[in-house]
Amino acid sequence: MKILLNNREEKFDNEYLRVSELLDLKKLTFRMRIIKINGILIPKDSYSETIIRNGDNVQVLYLMSGG
């Protein structure tokens, strides 16, 4: 499948991916972040059941302390 990840096209062999699987594949599990899929915010307790499909627009906002 092909998705948009932070405005960049990414290809995966999988037919679909759970959000948690995407985070594993992209080695992003250790970073605190906000995830939106097609404009919908995905709460962190739903990462293991939320499915990313071909054509989805996935935005990851990385959170850093300091303000």
Binding site: L61, S65, G66
Partner: protein, 196 residues
Amino acid sequence: MKFPDIKKHLRNFRVGIAGAGGLGSNCAVALARTGVGTILICDNDIIESGNLNRQYYFSIQIGLPKVEAIRDNIAIIDKEVNIITNNIELTPYNIPEIFAGCDVIVEALDLKEMKEMFIETVQKEMPRIPLITGSGLAGWGDTGSLRCRKIDETLYVCGDESTEVSDELPPLAPRVGIVANLQADKVIEVLMKKRQ
């Protein structure tokens, strides 16, 4: 557009700011100078000497609640700006009520856990209000990496999304000021497109 017309337009709007530290205090001042009519600012900290390297406060204000001091400082700049202060700790339960009626909201909190809680709450409970967050401003140099990135119509992130503050990489006035002003500029851009 001439500045008096910009100011006249911006006077009609209310901007909410969560946090009155390095991002919030500098962002509030930039918005006040540009003409935003009402600024609601929420923080429950007091000013400490360590804040003065980047926050819009003065040494004689050490010990004062930040929201009181920012109200005083903005009043010295422009007494016409309506400042609403809230000296309270933000929770998922009080955020929708506190920020109700804001045309744009600025996330200017310190800890990433608080940022996450605030962004999740605002996007879930107030999904149509544009939210301008700040993430990644520590240290010095590489100011070209500081930018405002549009996630979608209701969410923007200002900063580099990669540097985190620590003892060895503290927040300093120049980069904090840049990110605070990137946030203020995005607020102005969003408001200038809105009808009164």
